[in-house]
């Protein structure tokens, strides 16, 4: 039975099957459904934030707008951590290193070179690429625990070196960053305008989401996902794991650095704390709570975490206990995270599928 079918189809193997097959269409339809549920969530998220901005501005608030801006900037770091964790399956405990380096690069450019938005971000991006390459060459040869520990150690060491470097402000960091103008097409936005800068960062976050969503739908993105599921098979399919991991690492580092580059524009200073372990772990926590591997999850988780901390902080100074406990609960009982649950609920296969 199979032999006959095999012989028949064997002929089809030699020539290309013209047009797109029905099987592929079915599969793509299913993949689209899953992606749409996440895009829907993302749309909701961004709209909600835009509405929030309008309301806050009308109410004359600046604190919450700045907090939300910081949350989105931190969200960039969380996305960076998730590219490694949720896609490549690599747990980085030192992603804040690239965030901090990007922040320092941006700060130095704005303060000592030229208070230019694009130049500062370019410096951050360049720093991220370079540092990511170096870090990646070291770290991507290993995986699992070893990867986590290498990234952990790398961040610790560099943070310590910077902490002890007087030229970089040592433990105080760099302060007195000038307020810059952000050129937005025909207009400019002042960096210290709460609503204005928030919108700039919001747009940046949307662009990041769009770009990464595109990447996830490419073979490269699929290979990354496959890397997480079964790294050992990939080389036998023709894809050496090392270069792929390195590419993912460099990409993640660059994203973290650019996000970090926005930080001094918001807060006017940078300090070694931006590279510390706590920052790195918070990024992971945001990604896990929001939903790893979903791209919108880390952004969601970041906003929840930052606002959650702020809220908890009004009741007690021991917010680590609550966050830590929530994190453990998420790891044990909700490993898919919020976005993951949405995807499963709304993006699953049609009920009447075969």
């Amino acid at each position: 039975m199979l032999e006959a079918a095999a012989e028949k189809k064997g002929q089809e193997l030699s020539g290309r099957v013209p047009g797109r097959g029905a099987t592929a269409e079915r599969v793509y339809a299913q993949e689209r459904r899953a992606a749409r549920s996440l895009h829907g969530l993302a749309l909701l998220f961004f709209c909600a934030l835009a509405v929030f901005a309008a309301i806050a501005r009308a109410a004359g608030d600046s604190f919450f707008l700045r907090l939300a801006t910081e949350a989105l900037i931190f969200g960039g770091l969380a996305v960076s951590a998730d590219i490694l964790l949720g896609f490549a399956g690599l747990l980085s405990l030192g992603q804040a290193l690239y965030f901090g380096l990007g922040a320092y690069a941006s700060a130095l450019v704005m303060k000592d070179v030229l208070p230019s938005f694009w130049l500062a971000l370019a410096a951050s991006a360049g720093t991220g690429l370079l540092a990511g390459l170096l870090g990646g060459l070291i770290a991507s040869r290993v995986r699992g625990v070893y990867f986590a520990l290498i990234t952990f150690g790398l961040a610790q060491v560099v943070a310590k070196v910077i902490y002890n470097t007087r030229e970089l402000g040592a433990s105080d960091g760099i302060i007195g960053i000038p307020i810059i103008q952000v050129p937005v097409g025909f207009a400019t936005v002042e960096a210290n305008s709460p609503a204005g800068f928030f919108l700039v960062v919001l747009v940046a976050a949307m662009l990041l989401y769009a770009a990464l969503s595109f990447l996830a739908g490419t073979p490269f993105g699929r290979l990354l996902a496959a890397l997480r599921i079964n790294q050992s098979r990939l080389p036998f399919l023709g894809w050496p794991a090392g270069p792929i991991k390195l590419a993912a690492f460099v990409t993640a580092a660059a994203i973290a650095s650019v996000a970090g580059g926005l930080y001094p524009m918001l807060r006017g200073f940078v300090s070694p704390e931006l590279m510390y372990f706590e920052m790195s772990t918070n990024a992971i926590i945001a990604a896990v709570i929001g939903g790893t591997g979903t791209l919108i999850g880390p952004l969601l988780g970041a906003v929840l975490l930052v606002f959650g901390k702020s809220v908890i902080g009004t009741f007690t100074e021991y917010h680590q206990i609550v966050i830590g406990a929530l994190f453990m609960a998420a790891v044990l009982f909700f490993p898919r995270g919020l976005a993951g649950v949405v995807k499963a609920q709304f993006g699953g296969p049609k009920k009447d599928a075969v």
């Binding site: 964790l85 399956g89 747990l91 070291i138 040869r141 290993v142 699992g144 625990v145 070893y146 986590a148 520990l149 290498i150 952990f152 150690g153 790398l154 610790q156 060491v157 310590k160 070196v161 002890n164 372990f277 772990t281 992971i284 926590i285 896990v288 021991y318 917010h319 680590q320 206990i321 966050i323 830590g324 406990a325 994190f327 453990m328 790891v331 044990l332 490993p335």
Partner: protein
């Protein structure tokens, strides 16, 4: 000659006393990994718990010798409970390493803050239990450091004997080597796991007590130490007792002697650099898993 007598040798002995405590901590980590396949990121917190417990007990009037016995004993049930209630849940998942890492990470956050809540953020320092100094072959050494070396060596030897010369140790090694086979041979695997985790945690706590007069006690004392402990474990080989001992001695000696020539700022980068080199060139470390140590 004088240099050796007054500078180098005391520094090396200092390194030795530090090394012995680092080894105790690393032993706990490596045993937990070797058997349970669990990365305990909260190990530093157990180290701190041990130090704080010791501090409290000393303050309550117990003698130092009583305390170094009481602290690890009191931490056994704690470790057992943590394993049963928490760690075990991560155990059956395929992503065990990542999951246990994340779980213990969360745990470490909670515990660190709990310690801060209970004892305040400030540093405290128990009195040095053995005062004075002694002279050994013309080298002057604080008496407590000497005690540390002797005590530490004895405990390390005891751990080695326990793992390799007792039936409990045999059960642990069997379960580490092949869980299902051990279970079918009648080894109570679940209980062995919990007991081993408890044991590893107790070692961390003991290390905390022993080092508290030297390094003081504060809520985040475990963090920096954890990096060093992990480095020792990796260089020595995850799961290897022999490796932890050798790597512990080696790394702390390198740290001690190098600090004579270079600024202490570089001490961490050097240690880290060694870890990276080992991970890149020989990821399994010096020796293998606990079953074949």
């Amino acid at each position: 000659m004088e240099y050796i007598q007054f500078v180098l040798a005391p520094q090396m002995l200092n390194g030795l006393s530090f090394g012995v405590s680092v080894i105790l901590m690393a032993l706990g980590l490596t045993i937990i990994f070797g058997l349970l396949d669990v990365i305990n990121m909260a190990h530093g917190e157990f180290y701190a718990i041990g130090a704080y417990t010791g501090f409290v007990l000393l303050g309550a009037g117990f003698s130092f010798w009583a305390v170094i016995a009481l602290v690890p004993i009191s931490m056994l049930p704690l470790g057992y409970a943590v394993q049963r209630l928490l760690i075990r849940r991560a155990f059956n998942s395929g992503d065990r390493h990542t999951l246990s890492l994340l779980l213990t990470l969360g745990l470490s956050m909670v515990v660190a803050d709990l310690l801060r809540m209970g004892f305040g953020p400030n540093t405290v320092r128990p009195e040095t239990p053995v005062k004075g100094g002694l002279e050994l072959l013309g080298i002057f050494l604080p008496a407590y450091r000497a005690t540390l070396i002797a005590l530490g060596a004895a405990i390390i030897a005891a751990v080695y004997l326990l793992v390799y010369r007792t039936s409990l140790g045999a059960m642990i090694r069997a379960a580490a080597y092949d869980r299902n086979m051990a279970a079918s041979l009648g080894v109570p695997v679940e209980r062995v796991y919990s007991a081993t985790f408890a044991f590893g945690v107790a070692l961390a706590g003991l290390s905390g007590v022993l080092l508290s007069p030297v390094f003081s006690v504060f809520p985040t004392m475990g963090h920096d130490f954890l990096v060093l402990a992990f480095t020792v474990v990796i260089v020595g080989g995850l799961g290897s007792i022999k490796g932890a001992v050798l790597a512990g001695l080696l790394l702390t000696q390198i740290q001690a002697v190098s600090s004579l020539f270079i600024s202490p700022v570089w001490s961490d980068p050097i240690v880290f650099g060694i870890m990276v080199l080992v991970l890149m060139l020989r990821p399994q470390g010096l020796f293998g898993k606990i079953g074949y140590a």
